[in-house]
């Protein structure tokens, strides 16, 4: 259980990092909380590692009315503590354990693109983007990749060899939007068997599901669920329709996903689970949004 040998690079800034990545066939080392286990288990053996932990200017969390930009070196725990984005904070509490979150990075988690990871769902449901840099003709060239194009397949993101993800942008929520993240994992801190991240606005609802497809599955529920249908009281006749809408939404989510079986759960169980979680997440998000509106 020791990593295979590799040549180590510790660039001091972004330009040096992408220049090195252009020259050698290497992998980026950020928090190491996914890469080092893979090296220890010899599931990966890159010839070169480009450690960005000493690079200046890659950290930082910048919040403005449009949203939150998280730098490549911002650790899960920093972003969680900053409280800069309520949905991100909620999702981060479900990522691994507090000690892992002290090293692991938000951007690293997006690039790693584990189909059961929480943060890709957050980026996907919000329609965020990742800023990616490479060395091109003697200068740093940057492109902005929207979430819908960023997650390519299981453990595969749009970051090409030679590229470095510089930051991720998570669009802000509206003042009256409600959010929730519901998941079921075998043990606290494990990757989820299935999870659902929901955003309910006064106009409609959207969810992103993890663990039930190769990439986060985004389902736009239109106005099937909105803040007026939130938190149904099963005794009130008017709310019976709202409860039915939630069930219909859960069914729509089930139909949109293609879970696979593995040693942890069958495909049928995951499909069942994702519907239950969608209903819970939507109800919770609707309740939160309604409360924010003072309804």
């Amino acid at each position: 259980m020791k990593p295979p040998p590799f040549t180590y690079h510790a660039p001091r800034d972004l330009a040096a990092a992408v220049r090195t990545l252009a020259e050698v066939d290497g992998k980026v080392l950020a928090g190491g909380q996914s890469l080092i286990p893979m090296l220890n288990m010899r599931l990966a053996a890159p010839a070169h590692l480009v450690d960005i932990n000493r690079a200046e200017g890659l950290g930082g969390i910048e919040a403005d009315p449009a949203g939150v930009r998280v730098g490549a070196l911002a650790r899960h725990s920093e972003v969680e503590r900053s409280g800069a984005h309520p949905l991100l904070t909620r999702a981060l509490r479900l990522v691994a354990h507090p000690v892992i979150r002290n090293r692991g990075t938000v951007v690293g988690s997006l690039v790693h693109a584990d189909p059961a990871a929480e943060l890709p769902a957050v980026l996907a449901v919000l329609g965020g983007a990742v800023r990616v840099a490479r060395w091109d003709g003697g200068a740093v060239a940057v492109r902005e990749v929207p979430a819908a194009e960023f997650f390519v397949g299981p453990m595969e993101s749009a970051v090409a060899p030679g590229e470095l993800a510089v930051s991720a942008f998570f669009p802000a929520l509206g003042a009256h939007d409600g959010v929730a993240f519901e998941e079921v994992a075998r043990r606290h801190g494990d990757y989820a068997l299935a999870g659902v991240c929901a955003v309910v606005t006064p106009r409609g609802a959207k969810v992103a599901c993890v663990g039930v497809g190769p990439v986060p599955v985004v389902v736009d529920l239109g106005d099937l669920v909105n803040l007026d249908s939130g938190a149904p009281d099963p005794r009130a006749a008017a709310d019976l329709r709202a409860a039915a809408d939630l069930r219909a939404a859960a069914e729509a989510v089930r139909e949109a996903t293609e879970p696979e079986a593995d040693i942890h759960a069958s495909a049928a169980y995951r499909r069942h689970l994702v519907g239950v979680l969608a209903e819970r997440a939507l109800r919770e998000a609707a309740r939160e949004g309604a409360a924010a509106r003072g309804a």
Binding site: M1, K2, P3, P4, P5, F6, T7, Y8, A10, L29, G32, Q33, I36, P37, L39, N40, M41, L49, D51, N53, S77, A96, H97, P98, V99, I100, N102, R103, H188, G189
Partner: protein, 159 residues
């Protein structure tokens, strides 16, 4: 290629020559002879390799020694006072039978030291969340949870 690094371990600057692939856990144990830090799984799951990096608990098995060149580390050897008196967290674990074989204990002690520094009076749920990344095969956790609360009491009394 070997790298010359300096780590400030428990207040003392220590130098080592290590290949880049040397895990911090192995650097502490083999290069610096600090075998208090234990190694169980080497993939981040068991928590017994937990040490404090600039005051924050991290997995030393998921950190390369070269990456933290120049950083301040606290290992279980550094928790007791200079006079050898055990820290409040260590005394609480002894008093509450928070350990049996002791394999997991260095990781728990480091994790709990940091937990109480950040949250001096945690609730039961906060304690359980705080130690959720540390596995113990002996105690059944009840006495560990008690020890955390007891340590919080001791720290408050001594403050």
């Amino acid at each position: 290629m070997e790298h010359e690094i300096t780590l400030i371990v428990n207040g003392t600057a220590r130098r080592a020559r290590v290949p880049a692939r040397r895990l911090l856990s192995d650097c502490l144990r083999h290069d610096l002879g600090l075998t208090g830090t234990h190694v169980g799984c080497e993939h981040g799951v068991c928590g017994c390799c937990t040490v404090l990096l600039d005051g924050r608990p991290v997995r030393s098995c998921l950190t390369f020694a070269v990456t933290v060149d120049g950083a301040e580390l606290t290992t279980v050897e550094g928790l007791a006072g200079r006079d050898g008196r055990l820290s409040a967290v260590q005394r609480a674990f002894a008093e509450c039978h928070g350990l049996q074989c002791g394999f997991c204990t260095p990781g728990f002690l480091c994790t709990v030291t940091a937990l109480l520094a950040e949250n001096p009076a945690p609730t039961d749920d906060e304690v359980i969340d705080g130690i959720s990344g540390n596995l113990c095969r002996c105690t059944g956790y009840q006495n560990i949870v008690k020890a955390v609360h007891r340590a919080a009491e001791l720290l408050a009394e001594e403050a």
